[in-house]
């Protein structure tokens, strides 16, 4: 007993640091597996889809599900299963790209203004508030309407529209971190702003960024689906889920499958994304504000 601290201080043991993923709740793990399955289906689409997605009259129109057509056929006799499988590519790519775009630009912007504060922060926040006070749908319709609907454009548009939301959340997270003493300590050491943002701040808002990314993924998928449904997204004959629902709904009485399959695909995907979001949110602490819509 030479050292008091040995006697007096209770010292937390280094709990074998588990990977973040392992600490996710079960529901989020299941959701993660579902998302992996989606990714696999999307990547392997050419291999697993029984028919080419856009080939018409592989069967007669509106065939009910059968061994040949597991999910039946649509009005052009196309295989609904194959189209649904291919549709996962479009939506995953677009949703992921949009979310990635908003999380990276919004994240950087949020960190920067959150850290710098002052007049820059005031001006930037007002600008963001103003942009957010225009309902995103107006922007989306204007942009997609003016430049022509194409998958990359829709993804970029939806991504950019979420930038203010992400920036706001990340800014708030940054502010609470930026007021902590380790940031002050870094400043006192004379670290550059860039170094502080990247080395000190970034690791501490990673959780927020991950949560925001997954929130934005769910949001983007729904938004892109809605645009597709309104005819402002992917264009026929693309196997796009929103578009498929729109195309199929006129003939829903003849066959429900052309609507039900992409709808279910979308619902399950977004549910999985949301459950996953929920899990990472619990893991990394609350990053509210944005909501999922």
């Amino acid at each position: 007993m030479t050292d008091l601290s040995v006697l007096l201080e209770s010292r937390p043991r280094p709990a074998g640091r588990r990977f973040a993923l392992q600490r996710l709740p079960v529901s989020a793990k299941v959701a993660g597996l579902v998302l992996l399955a989606y990714a696999a289906v999307a990547m392997l689409a050419p291999a697993i889809a029984p028919y080419p997605p856009n080939e018409i009259f592989v069967g007669s129109p509106f065939e009910p599900p059968s061994a040949a057509f597991l999910l039946g056929t649509d009005s052009l006799g196309r295989d609904v299963l194959s189209r649904t499988i291919y549709g996962s590519r479009t939506i995953l790519l677009m949703g992921g790209a949009a979310a990635g775009l908003s999380a990276s630009i919004g994240g950087l912007l949020g960190m920067f203004i959150g850290y710098r504060g002052g007049v820059l922060d005031e001006v930037a926040m007002r600008m963001l508030e103003i942009i957010m006070s225009i309902p995103s749908i107006i922007f989306a319709l204007l942009i997609v309407g003016s430049l022509g609907a194409s998958a990359p454009l829709v993804a970029v548009t939806v991504g950019l529209l979420s930038v203010p939301n992400v920036a706001r959340v990340v800014r708030a997270a940054t502010q609470s971190v930026a007021s902590e003493d380790f940031i002050t300590a870094a400043r006192a050491r004379g670290e550059t702003s860039l170094s502080i943002v990247l080395r000190e701040l970034l690791p501490n808002v990673t959780g927020t960024l991950i949560v925001e990314f997954s929130i934005r993924t769910g949001y983007s998928i729904l938004f892109i689906g809605g645009l597709g449904f309104l005819g402002f997204g992917a264009q026929p004959p693309t196997a796009d889920w929103g578009l498929m629902v729109n195309e199929g709904r006129g003939t829903i009485d003849a066959s429900i499958w052309p609507v039900a399959a992409p709808a279910a695909g979308m619902a399950m995907l977004v549910t999985a994304v949301n459950l996953f979001t929920d899990g990472v949110n619990r893991l990394f602490g609350p990053a509210e504000q944005g909501g999922v819509r």
């Binding site: 529901s27 007002r126 508030e129 103003i130 942009i131 006070s133 225009i134 309902p135 995103s136 749908i137 107006i138 922007f139 319709l141 204007l142 942009i143 309407g145 003016s146 430049l147 769910g218 729904l222 689906g225 809605g226 449904f229 309104l230 929103g242 629902v245 729109n246 709904r249 829903i252 429900i256 609507v259 709808a263 979308m266 619902a267 399950m268 995907l269 977004v270 549910t271 994304v273 949301n274 459950l275 929920d278 609350p286 509210e288 504000q289 909501g291 999922v292 819509r293």
Partner: protein, 321 residues
Amino acid sequence: MRVAPIPRLIVTRLALSVLSLFVVSLIVFSAVELLPGDTAERILGREATKESLAALRTQLRLSDPAPERYARWLGGIVQGDFGRSLVADRPVFSYIAGYLGRTLLLGGLALLIHIPLSIGLGLLAAARPDGASDLALSAAVLIGMSIPEFVVGIFLIMLLANDLQLFPPLALIDQAKSFGDVIHMLALPVITLNFAMTAYVVRQTRNSMIEVLKSDYVRMASLRGLSPLRVLFVHALPNALSPAINAIALNASWLVGGIVVVEVVFNYPGLGRLLVESIRFHDVPMIQGAALALSAAYIAVNLVADIATLLLNPKLRTRTA
């Protein structure tokens, strides 16, 4: 600014919103300018001839430079004149009022159901955190939220209107003869919207309620021997509502813009559809009017939410001693 009492909040916000709306109009105008094609082409469509196009362009003064047209429009706005729709050749204001009214009616009814429903469910979930009811409820609302609203709408029409014939499939509110009819007609869109909105507020209410139930003051309230009901409704609930209100405000502002898909599915003549139509026709004054109305509604919703938050939170309402 949040420490400011309510009147100052309102004044500041109103001043700011004027600026916001100005920027909105500028952005929207520029965006429309970028659209290919022009109003005359859109109006005349396939039947257009060179002569009729030229005549219509002159009539609508489309060949004036863009800044001049914007300045003319802005000049009108300052005097309370929203201009005339290029396509309808009627004052924009008369449209905005009606369409906005209907959008607000639908959105309002949706919120009327939404607020008690989602807060109630949130409290239910918070009653036993991670219990069976909490998990089931969280899962249910999460799935509800994850289905795109157009899918929900389509299937609700199939199920509740076509098969069970409980509600009319379309929201043709002009056919309503009483307020009861209106509610009956709007039932499906209202349900559809609630599908989308519920989860977030339930989650917020649940989380903040759980948080508040763990707080010192709730603990102390029950340690002072107060009845559980009093602890719940007087001590816990008012303090748990702020995040729920923010979530509701987010939903409400989502409603303002996101309602367009639901309007399309249920054939409801709301502002969102007017906007989509106007974008199709490049009807600049109408787009401007609709965009401003939507933005103003958005700003108002957020202002109301902030005031509610202020009212609920004495810390923000009064100055610190």
